[in-house]
């Protein structure tokens, strides 16, 4: 192996070490919710003893160095646990667009990766996570059915909305030659948003469960002649090179995310969301919409979803602007409630746009 090769391998390993330390710190934060005190001397002694034992087994690193290193790690974990941090779950791996939305919205929040959307909801409901963030619709792809289903079935409230401009980047492993790329991995929605780009370079699209997951896989397995479409953040986190940014076919590509919590917020925001279904008779939906018309309220979203509990019927999502109508809101919602078969108030919140 040449010096250059070895150095590249070391760089890749350093990336991995930091990724693992980050994961360890996240878990440390999550234990804070489950244990009473930050200091647990017995547990810390266990950690140090185990580390030294493993070092001795490998027989290269000095066990004293390993003890010092792990003591430092444990101290840092304690420091992180010591300051009050708000945990917000998102679906996918680190680098997902949900995480980018979190960072733009509030850099102090700690994004925690969850496997499925349901896991985000579970985490917030159980108190494991303080907040959750989920995508509800994309300007090109439309509504995200699975998330909307969960909003109907579960009892979380919306405390903020974020519209994020989605900038897709073409990422490759550091030594890859861009001329040799033939296959591109990403979430099907990302692939379809970059369809013309893929066609221009005669690249084959390979669906993967997640954009950040595709980037993570690329960094780990380095498949030949392959690239991934994901956020620029993924390039930084997984040590991938960005071949080109903003490769989406339509530049105005936005995804709307909702920040969820167990309780709704009471301060004066600008938008409100509800979900409802109507009795099965003519004019039922109109009667509800009429309430808003008469109150002079502007609707910003209306989306229907087939009602899984009642096949043949639909559930409606309604977003509207409240601004100064806040005073009447309770009356309006009560009125709406009377005219619906199922009614759920999701919350009132402010919406931010990040271009």
């Amino acid at each position: 192996m040449s010096l250059e090769n070895i150095r590249k391998k070391i760089d890749a390993l350093d990336h991995d070490i930091l990724k693992l330390l980050n994961e360890r710190a996240e878990l440390g934060l999550r234990t804070k919710k489950l244990k009473p005190a930050i200091h647990d001397d017995k547990r810390e002694a266990e950690i140090l003893d185990q580390a030294k034992a493993i070092a001795r087994a490998y027989n290269l690193l000095d066990p004293d160095f390993v003890e010092k290193a792990f003591r430092t790690i444990v101290e840092e974990t304690r420091r992180i646990q010591g300051s009050p941090r708000t945990l917000i779950g998102f679906q996918g791996d680190h680098g997902a667009f949900g995480e980018e939305a979190v960072r733009r919205h509030d850099a102090q929040l700690v994004p925690i990766p969850c496997r499925e959307f349901a896991d985000v909801f579970d985490g917030v409901e159980s108190g494991d996570l303080d907040l959750g963030i989920v995508p509800v619709e994309n300007s090109l792809g439309g509504a995200i059915a699975e998330v909307n289903e969960l909003l109907i079935r579960r009892d979380l409230k919306v405390r903020a909305a974020i519209r994020l401009k989605i900038n897709h980047c073409l990422l490759v492993a550091p030594e890859a030659n861009y001329q040799e790329i033939r296959i591109v991995y990403s979430h099907p929605q990302a692939l379809s948003q970059c369809r013309a780009f893929l066609s221009r370079h005669q690249l084959e699209a390979r669906p993967f469960y997640d954009t950040a997951g595709a980037a993570k896989m690329l960094a780990r397995e380095k498949p030949k002649m392959a690239a991934a479409i994901a956020s620029r953040l993924c390039g930084e986190l997984y040590n991938l090179e960005v071949i080109k940014e903003n490769i989406q076919d339509h530049q105005e590509n936005f995804t709307r995310f909702l920040v969820l919590s167990k309780d709704d917020r009471k301060d004066a925001p600008e938008k409100c969301s509800i979900v409802f279904s109507t009795p099965h008779r003519a004019g039922a939906l109109f009667a509800i919409l009429q309430i808003f018309t008469e109150a002079g309220i502007n609707l910003t979203r209306i989306e229907s979803l087939p009602d899984r509990a009642d096949p043949g019927n639909y559930v409606f999502f309604l977003d509207f602007q409240i601004n100064d109508a806040r005073a009447n809101l309770d009356a309006i919602l009560e009125n709406v409630g009377h005219k619906t078969k199922m009614f759920k108030y999701l919350g009132c919140y402010r919406e931010e746009v990040f271009a």
């Binding site: 861009y178 001329q179 221009r200 005669q202 071949i243 490769i247």
Partner: protein, 279 residues
């Protein structure tokens, strides 16, 4: 020139190739920039200087066709990203040389005009590949190519369906050694007589001497060239390629002023716009 069908002038109006706000064949287009993209700082500084000096477009080499494999080969993709950054900051459209057919589709993501260099003028597979895009192509005349060979190469590009070809005379090899090449302005006049394509001149490579660039640029405008492409560097002595022929920003500003004055005068001499079909 019997087999020049697509590029031939006969009865057609002169072609105008639009890039951003300028039209080759309509306005006098001034392209300037470093020979090679060496760093972001260098390229952005030079881009800002040439923009201020009056340039319409930025040139910069990311892939360099060096005579020797041991010389700086260019920054490649990194160089293209730097050019893109310079365009973002200054608004100047970019022209850069493509060497490899495999790079054509990728370069189209970054540059506004693809340049086919003199040494690649008869690289037929490259000509066909750039012909398949719709990007304007700057086709340099080969250093030992006849006018007929040059126009046939334009024909290759046009034949693939890309109408946006700009010709560039950059000097030919002769027995003379004082100048790096011998700038052949008669070829500019001839090309404008034979084809409807815009024709520009590269006085930098055409002479290889800073002291000759201004006079040859003026001569090019006087003989009807539709534009110029010149190399500019803020510290020529530190350049990684072509240091003897790069203009400094003040020298470029002077050139820019003078050629525009001359062009205005030539327009009045020619009785109106220079974009007239030849008789």
């Amino acid at each position: 020139m019997k087999n020049i069908k697509l590029a031939a002038l006969k009865g057609k109006t002169r072609s105008v190739v639009r890039v951003g706000d300028v039209g080759f064949g309509e306005d006098l287009v001034l392209i300037a920039g470093p020979c090679s993209v060496e760093s972001e700082k260098q390229t952005v500084e030079i881009a800002q200087a040439v923009k201020e000096g009056g340039a319409d477009m930025l040139r910069g080499g990311a892939f360099k066709p060096r005579t020797s494999p041991y010389n700086f080969q260019g920054l490649g993709l990194k160089g293209l990203k730097i050019l893109e950054k310079a365009r973002e900051i200054t608004g100047l459209p970019i022209v850069s040389e493509v060497l490899d057919t495999r790079d054509v589709s990728w370069m189209c993501e970054y540059v506004d005009v693809l340049q086919v260099g003199a040494r690649n003028m008869q690289n037929f597979s490259l000509l066909k590949e750039v012909g398949k895009t719709t990007r304007p192509v700057l086709l340099k005349r080969g250093m030992h190519s006849t006018i007929a060979e040059w126009l046939n190469c334009a024909e290759y590009i046009l034949n693939e369906g890309n109408p946006n070809v700009i010709l560039c005379e950059r000097g030919i090899r002769t027995f003379e050694t004082y100048t790096r090449n011998t700038l052949d302005l008669s070829a500019v006049a001839a090309a404008k007589e034979l084809t409807y394509l815009p024709v520009i001149v590269d006085p930098t490579h055409g002479t290889g001497k800073v002291s000759l660039i201004l006079s040859m640029s003026l001569a090019a405008v006087a003989c009807g060239a539709d534009g110029l492409i010149v190399e500019v560097h803020n510290h020529p002595e530190a350049a990684l390629s072509d240091k003897e022929q790069a203009l400094t920003p003040p020298e470029f500003s002077e050139l820019s002023r003078k050629i525009r004055s001359l062009r205005a005068f030539m327009d009045s001499l020619n009785g109106g716009s220079a974009a007239q079909p030849a008789d």
